[in-house]
Every structure is written in structure tokens, then in C-alpha cells.
Symmetry: C2
Subunit: 362 residues, 2 copies
């Protein structure tokens, strides 16, 4: 599937939705892909089932603070350098690249790599949303090693990490990215086509585009974008979605701690929604409670959207007075197994509430 | 030349002297080498002129805080892993290893690597003393690239850095070492035998042993160890040495800032020495002034020694009330060129006094 400019717009909206507050604004990434299209390059998505089992796939991404990226624009060559170096280290050419994260900016970085190198981008990822750390990958949950990993910055400084486990890889590479100026470009979790089919969350790139398109088309035809969204999701692997609150944003606390954006948002109910929803944030929205009662919890998606425009609102865009609608979405089964919850379930974020699927909540 | 246990004692004392306050206490390193000797392994020093021009030499070292090393004892395998990984990356077997720094603990790490791998250790190094940062190497001054560099910790996590220059290599690897728990083990500045002869400070391992032996023998025969030392140095490349002050240590300020031990020591003159000497410290002793007048300055050596035992005193061992003798030593010509002073001269430590050779001072 060859992507168009319109697809890119839709992808950016859908990726912001799947980012559940985190992952950064895909705007800069979208411009980088748009430039590839303007140069006549092809952005070619490939279904994971079409990747040969023995083919090598090398995912690419940005690592670090999306806020830094705005001030330190990448040339696009950084991720390509990491990709090429990892190929060289492995002694093999890769068949394709792939996102590690569909939420936010990392949905677009692999598109630039694929377009510039003339290789396809696998329509799948390893988070099925946005998460703050590199070990939080279904790839790793199901046995793929994140190492060897390459990290490259805009000065062409390059680092290869071989960590004994994926958490050590995160720990070491995070500081490298900080020293590189707060954001860097990586290639990691290299794997076979067979491993892609076994460990990736499939078709999340096209899912993001479908979400963006559904919201766009609903608004163009003066229908409710929320109704359109709630109708779309059951046709996907994210097969349950519902509005869990609507109201006015009355308080936002946010601070940067240990490199994360930590905070909470309070929403006072409007219309039929009574009480106050409180959402805890660590880059992404982690848990939503109304008067102390849990209404949705990580890894299920908690998306704060503008009640009027249905634009997803990222953590850094939250402002007092916004009228917001909170949508919760069930993540695919591959993200809810005990092994998966051990890596990115509530406990991994310091929450002492057990994971409870959104569809089983009141 | 095969090293004996007695050589190791002498080496430790001489390396502490050449450390000019920094480089860490070689005690733990000495024990590691002693254990190799106890196991029947050979520690074989080779003169740099005996290294074939086309042979590959890979220096090895500890990186980080020597104070951490005491609490986190290395197995000895860490530096070997970095060495082996770098061989593999370069696709060649190395002929020998070599110290990057003769001052302090890094005089001993390559001995363990050489003994365990059954290869010689080149009798030379890249600092001719101790310095706090990895770009401060004659290797780099004269064109050898520090990258590719491997960093390994005791958990066998391993990182390859390919930095565009040696200062970036220091900047990136420093944080990796910190994340690895404060100290790690490295292989870097791989070079040919021809480059060893061109860029290394030669015969510093044997120099350290000669210094240790000369002090030991003088004390055993009830002669002045200081006289013996001042007689020895003119026979070496460090061809000028003299006592620049003697007195009582009356004040020590020390604080850890940006990972360095920063401070100053004040010494009140005793006997014929009038006034107060003030020594500025950044890990190593950088500049010595008496009543504001400079008496010695980096990269020349400023060594604070116990006036009675003639033991070199490292920065962390400085205590109020110690009777000390300060010895200044001219470093070899290779360390005093404009190119060298650009990398480890006074300005590199924020001092605005020009380098002045010790032999030209009053």
C-alpha cells in the first residue's frame, strides 16, 4: 500500500489518539514524510503476513523527549545511520523497517527510513499505543531481544548497545540519548519475519489511518466523530471502545521528574456526567478514576479528546477550561496476557490496582 | 620483561606518584595482578620499539570513579570482554594491550588483561601521568581515534561507541559508565605498532617501577628517598624534578562537582620554606602557587608526598596536619607541544595561566 499526503494527515491524527496523551506530536515527523513524497519517493506499507519468515526486519524510532525534537530538527539521516550500522553489525541486509510504537511521532520515523532506503515499512508495531520505555514492547514480551541496538545523533555520533536484557538496554540507552542532547534515533529489536508475525501488534499503522479518516469524514459530513469512532473500533483488534467521561478540565498538574512528564488532570462532569474524573499521567494517561472508582487502566487506552473537534489532546496540550471527552479503548489480546502485563501493566507504573479490562468495568 | 610481586609493589607506588593526586589507589588493581601471578600466569612487559609496526595494539582501562571500584570489585573479565569485543569489531586479533594512563589504578588493569589472555603489555601509555578525561591522551593529540570504543560492566552489559571525535567519545561514554554503576571497563584507541611508537609516552610502566624501587631502596638503606628520587628523574624522559615546597597541610577543601573531585589544599611552610602554598585540584593537582605566585602548572607533575615516609598522597587521602613535601616534575617533550597543551594544558582545566615549564620557574 502506497501512502498519500491525505493518508499522512489521517495517520498523524490516529497516532495522536493511540498515543493516549504521550508519544509526542507527530507534526514534525509528518513534515519529514511529506518531504519524501514531494521528492517523488514512495512510502510503501506492507502487511506483516506478507513478510517472508526468514526476512530480516529492523525497527527504527526516535528516542527521548519529543519537546526537544521540535528545537533540534532531525535531518532524517540519523535513523538511517542506526539502521545501516545495525545491518552491518548483523552482516545482513534488512528486508523492511517497522515502528516500535504507533502512538505519536514514532509512527512516522520508520516511514522516512523506508522511503529514503526504498524498502517497505511493516504495518505493525511493538507497543500498540505509546509507552515511555524501550523494554515495554510486545517484541520483548514474547522473547525478541532489543539488543544489539544502535543510537545515533545529528552529529553522527553512534553507539551500539549490547545489554543482557531489554530493561538494561533502556537504562543505558536513555542516558546516551540524554547526552546526545535529549533525543536520538535508534534501530533495535531486529527480528525475523516469523518473529514479526508472532510478536508484533499487527496493522496498527493502517488502524491509525482509519481512525484519522473516520474522524475527518464524520466531521466533513456533519456527523458525530465520536459515534463514528465508537462504530469503527469494534471492527478492529481494539474491539471495545466507549466514552467514559465528558466534562471541563479544571486542573492540570505536570512536572518533569526523572525525564518523565508526571502529573494529573481533573475533569468536572458536564451534562449527564456527574462527579470529577481524575487521570494520572506518566507521559501517557495511566488510570482514570471518578470519585475514586477506577474507570480505565493501563495498558487499555485512555484518550482525552476535544469535545467539539474530536482532536486527541496530548499531555503537553492539556489546558484549564478545555471541554473534553474521555474515550477508553480495549487493547488487543496480545497486550493483555500475564507476560505482557508484567512488562507494561499497572504495576510497572507504580499503580497498585490490578489490570481490569475496560469492557468488564461498570 | 616478566613482572614479579616486588615489581608490583614498586609499580603501585610509582603509579601513585605519577598520578599527581589522581588516578585512584592502585591497591585493588595490584591485588588482581598478584592473583594472576599466584595462578602461575605471566605478566610480560614489552618495549614499544619491539612492537611490529603493523601489529594491532588495543589499550584497556577502568573508567569512572576509583572510589566506586572499591565497593564494586571487578572480576577482571570486564576489561577482557571489551578487549575481545573490539577485536571482533575490528576483525583482527591484537598483538598486545597497553595502558591509556600510567597514574593510579589504570597502570594495573592492562596487566590483568595481558596475563589472562597470554599477550604482552606495551611499556608505554597515553597520558604519562593521570588525567580526568578520555580525550586527554597523547594518542589522540597525534591523530589516533579513540573510537571505536567498548565499555563493559560486571553484568556483561556492553556498549560500542563510535564518536566523531575523542571529546564526544568522553562525553557519551562517561554517562554510560555512570549508568553502569559508576565504573566500567573499556577498550579504546586501538592502533598500529607504528602509531604506538609515534604517539605513546614510552617506558612509563618501567618508570613507575623504577620510582617505586628507588624510594623503597633508599628507605631500606636509610638514605633520603627524596634525594634518591631527584637523582633518578634526570635519567628519564621526565628529566627535571625538584622540591617546590615543604610544610604542614593546614586546610583541605574538596567537593564532588560534575563527577570530579574539585578542591584546594593549603600548606604552611616549615623550616626554610616560608609562606603558604595553595594547590588547586581537579582529581589531579593542577597548579601550585606560593603567595599567589605560580610554582608549577599542569601538565607538569605536582606530587604531594609524606615528608617522612615519602609516600605519594592521593587527593582523597589529604588530611589536616600532614607534613608534606611537594615535588614538581617536568613531563616529556611529547606532552608539552602546542597540540598537546591544546588537549590537556592549563586552559583545558579553566586555568588562565599559560603553561610554564617547571625548569624555567624561579
Amino acid at each position: 500500500m502506497k501512502l498519500t499526503s491525505e493518508d499522512l494527515h489521517d495517520l498523524a491524527v490516529g497516532a495522536a489518539f493511540l498515543g493516549t496523551g504521550g508519544g509526542g506530536n507527530p507534526y514534525v515527523g509528518r513534515l519529514m514524510v511529506q518531504r519524501c513524497l514531494d521528492e517523488g519517493l514512495t512510502v510503501d506499507l506492507i502487511d506483516p503476513t506478507d513478510v517472508p519468515d526468514e526476512a530480516l526486519v529492523i525497527p527504527t524510532a526516535m528516542m527521548g523527549a519529543p519537546t526537544v525534537l521540535i528545537e533540534k530538527l532531525p535531518s532524517g539521516e540519523e535513523a538511517i545511520t542506526s539502521f545501516r550500522q545495525l545491518e552491518k553489525h548483523l552482516g545482513r541486509k534488512a528486508f523492511a523497517t517497522m515502528p516500535i510504537e504507533i502512538g505519536g511521532i514514532n509512527s512516522t520515523i520508520p516511514l522516512v527510513v523506508g522511503a529514503r532506503l526504498g524498502i517497505p515499512i511493516v504495518d505493525a508495531d511493538g507497543m500498540g499505543r505509546a509507552f515511555p520505555e524501550l523494554q515495554m514492547e510486545t517484541f520483548g514480551v514474547y522473547g525478541v531481544s532489543g539488543s544489539p541496538m544502535y543510537v545515533t545523533d545529528e552529529d553522527n555520533d553512534s553507539t551500539l548497545l549490547m545489554a543482557t536484557d531489554n530493561k538494561s538496554m533502556e537504562w543505558l540507552s536513555r542516558m546516551v540519548a540524554i547526552r546526545m542532547g535529549g533525543c536520538a534515533y535508534i534501530a533495535e529489536y531486529s527480528m525475523s519475519g516469523a518473529d514479526v508475525k508472532r510478536t508484533a501488534v499487527p496493522n496498527t499503522m493502517t488502524l491509525a489511518m482509519r481512525i484519522g479518516r473516520c474522524l475527518r469524514e464524520a466531521k466533513a459530513s456533519h456527523q458525530s466523530p465520536f459515534d463514528a469512532l465508537l462504530n469503527l473500533m469494534p471492527q478492529t483488534l481494539y474491539n471495545h471502545a466507549r466514552i467514559i467521561f465528558t466534562g471541563k478540565l479544571v486542573d492540570v498538574q505536570r512536572e518533569t521528574r526523572n525525564g518523565f512528564s508526571i502529573g494529573r488532570a481533573r475533569i468536572d462532569g458536564l451534562g449527564p456526567w456527574v462527579g470529577t474524573m481524575e487521570i494520572e499521567i506518566q507521559n501517557e494517561n495511566l488510570i482514570a478514576r471518578v470519585n475514586g472508582e477506577v474507570r480505565a487502566i493501563v495498558p487499555d487506552l485512555i484518550c482525552i479528546m476535544d469535545s467539539e473537534s474530536a482532536e486527541p489532546i496530548t499531555t503537553e496540550q492539556l489546558r484549564y477550561g478545555q471541554r473534553v471527552t474521555v474515550v477508553a479503548v480495549a487493547v488487543p489480546a496480545i497486550m493483555r496476557t500475564p507476560e505482557a502485563l508484567d512488562v507494561f501493566g499497572p504495576r510497572c507504573f507504580g499503580l497498585d490496582h490490578p489490570f481490569t479490562p475496560i469492557e468488564t468495568m461498570a
